[in-house]
Every structure is written in C-alpha cells, then in structure tokens.
Symmetry: C2
Subunit: 216 residues, 2 copies
DNA sequence: TTTTGGTTGTTAATTTTTTCACGTTGTGCA
DNA sequence: TGCACAACGTGAAAAAATTAACAACCAAAA
C-alpha cells in the first residue's frame, strides 16, 4: 500500500454515513455549502467533532463559507463506498425481512439488495419488493453468480447460527444480523448484530435516567 | 436520593442488556453459573470488561465458580428495568411497524407494546399482531389512559418530524426512531435513532477494511 | 495438608475519543 | 484598505473506555 491510511474509528464511520445522508438531502434542496455546526446537529454532536471527522477524511472547508456540500459527498463516498455497487442479499423473508426489503427499496445507495432467500418453498420463485426470492439451497450458486459478499440475516433466532454458517461457506464477507444472538463464525467474516431488543431497552433506560436527573 | 448511583455509560448499558438475554438463555438450559469469559464472548469483548461492567452493577461473583446466573439476571434487571412493565406504543403500522410488532410478540420482557397507531383509517380498529391499532387522532387519549411513555416511531421519513412533535405533545418521554432522520424536539425527550442504512453501510465498510488488512 | 490452576475484584495504565483553545483565514462592510 | 466577525484546522488537554496486572480466593487434586 503506497499511502498508509490511518484507521478510522467505528464511531467516525457511523457519523460520516449520517453526514452524507444529510448532505444529499440539503443538496437536493439546493444548498451548496454547509457549516460544521449544522452537521453537528444531525448527529447530536459538536462542531469540533465534525471538523475532526472531516479532517480524517481529508476534506477541507473554507473559513467563513464552511464546506462545499458536493465535495463532501464525494469525499465521504470515496472513503465509504466500494468502487462498484455492493451486492447484498437478504436471507429470511419473514415480516422483518420484507420490511427491510421495503425499507431499502427505491433508495439510491452504494449498495443494492439483489436477491432474497428463504427456506420456505412457498416463498421461493416469487418476486418480493422487486427482488427474486430463491431457495436457501441455491444460495451458494446465486451468491457466486451475482458476486454477493454481504448478507442481511433476518431469520428466526433459532436458525440464525446455522444459516450464518451456510453464509460463511458461501463466501460472504459481512453479515448484518437482526437475530438477537451472538454468531460465532470460524472465518474472519465481519459480523454486525443489530439488536432491536437491546436498543429498546437502552432507550427506556435512558429516558428514565433523564427523568431522574430532572426530578432528583 | 440516599445513594448516589454513579452514571453508567451507554456502552455498558448495551452490554448489560445483551448479557441478560444470554443469561436467560442459559438459565433456561439449566446452567446456574457463568464465567466472565463466557459473557465476554457474546459481546465480543474481554473478560476484564465484563467483570468491570458487572462491578458497576454491584454484582459479585465467586472465585473459581464464577457468577450465579440467577442473581445476575435479577441484579441487571434491578438496574435496567422499571418497577412496573413499561408500556410502549408503536407508531406507524407499515411493513416495518408490523415487523417490529412481530419481532417483539410473545417475548417476555420488561416492556410491552400495548398499542399501535396509524394515520390510515383502513388500518385502525383492527388487531395487528395482537395489538389494537388506533388512529393517530386518538393518540393523546390512549397514551394517557395506558400510561404510555415510550414510542417506537416507524413512519415514513417525510412524516417523522411531524409525528415526533405529536408524540412529544402527548407526553412521551422516549422515542426509538426508525426513520432515517434527525428529530429535533423542543423538550428533553430522549431520542434514539436506529439507522438501518448507516448500520448496513458500516457493515460493508468494515468488511472491506477487514479484507484490506488481510490482503495488504 | 499443600499445591496447583483458574477466577474474581479492583486499581493502575493505556488507549481511544471527545472537547477545548486558539492561530489562521476568508468575507463583508465601512 | 482595514477592521470585525465567524468559521476552519489542529495541537493540546481532558474525559471516557478499555485493557492489563495482580492480590485474594476457592476448589480440587496430590
């Protein structure tokens, strides 16, 4: 590697993704420049933090005119996106799976959900939210044919571990896991678990703490 | 307040929630004791971190026998849970809303989704996943009658801000927001945004970084 | 009984992340 | 032009989170 890019923290990556969405939003509204304090608001952070995040990406703004929206979008994209659109598969076409498909439908992003999988034969062969649903048995084949290396796992928790194993065997590189369980995989596949129960419990906890702070 | 409980970090709260789920799981399997390194695995952390988290809660284990599963569950519950079950409302009965309802159905937790709301009259009056669906117009009334102080917001992004305002007016204390946008509320309502696009982008980014580390 | 091996509780050290502070710079106005 | 203002860039400081280290402890085996 010619240029040693220093590691960027997970937190910064999260914020960059959020900055970018907001930037696209205001770009669509015709804004061409933005200040750090405006970006700070959308991540509930500080202007200094935004400037620091953008510094890591190598963006540079301009005193008293702020940052150029278009450049920011491009530069954040250079960091976050692959050169080609990333092909993603949804595994598990239950309620949640369909909701996820719907959620990402029609969005223009640097990734694309190109296929869905389910073990229920009734669901296979159909088109769901614009994506063909295949049987789990065809997973490996479809993954290779479509160069899919990221999967969204939305199967019942009892099956999650087993299906994850299948995904790893199919050569997946990353899994976004909606099942409320820790997945142990042998290979060094990147697994990110999105734990809705935990998120709700956390929300409730801090709302109560908020209250205590006011009352106590 | 007699005992000044020191503030517990968000990260620790997240892990505690995950520990607890795992503890309930192994308790159901008949395990009565657990080691810190076992808990570490389910959060992809270290044993030291687990011990530290548990110390904050005031749990104490026993050398060479580890922690008692039942005590841990109770002590984490004492911290995380309210005295009564927390009543939660779902707002927005689209694909995602229904999926969320389904996701939490039949789970025995310290919270309970007791009502759903939608602005589409066709959906109102019906029972969806075991919960009655009301019209948005009845929100304030139902919130007060059922002492609902937490809402899950699953409406289209265009409506999120407006609906959030309604929720705040209805006296909600916390919102778990699925809409990919920052909500600005006047009051000090606790808002936690669960941003699926960001989570997926993050997953893709780190899977690629993973790859680079191996290849580079 | 004594030793051995493995775990907890906790303090200290380290690392990471965030915030502060301030020199620099571009803009607009008088 | 010169001044005031507001924003950026960034090193330093502070705060927060994680990891390391180790004494104390327990259980089981020798």
């Amino acid at each position: 590697m010619l240029k040693m890019k220093k590691k960027i923290s997970e937190r910064t990556i999260e914020r960059l993704s959020i900055y970018r969405r907001y930037l696209k939003e205001i770009q669509a509204q015709g804004k061409s420049r933005v200040y750090s304090h405006e970006l700070a608001k959308v991540v509930s952070g500080t202007a200094a933090q935004v400037r620091r995040d953008l510094m890591e990406v190598g963006c540079n703004g301009c005193s008293s005119k702020g940052y150029e929206v278009e450049s920011l979008i491009i530069e954040i994209g250079d960091l976050l996106d692959c050169s080609e659109v990333e092909n993603v598969a949804l595994v598990g076409v239950g309620n949640l799976g369909r909701a996820v498909l719907g959620f990402f439908s029609g969005k223009k992003e640097n990734f694309d959900i190109v296929a869905a999988f389910d073990s229920n034969p009734d669901k296979c062969g159909r088109i769901i939210c614009g994506r063909r649903c295949y049987h789990m048995d065809d997973l490996q084949e479809v993954f290779q044919k479509n160069r899919i290396s990221t999967a969204i796992l939305a199967v019942p928790v009892e099956e999650a571990e087993k299906v994850a194993k299948t995904l790893v065997e199919a050569g997946v590189r990353a899994i976004l896991n909606f099942a409320p369980t820790h997945l142990t995989v042998n290979n060094d596949v990147f697994i990110h678990t999105l734990d809705m129960t935990m998120e709700l419990e956390k929300t409730i906890f801090f709302s109560r703490q908020n209250l205590n702070l006011k009352e106590g």
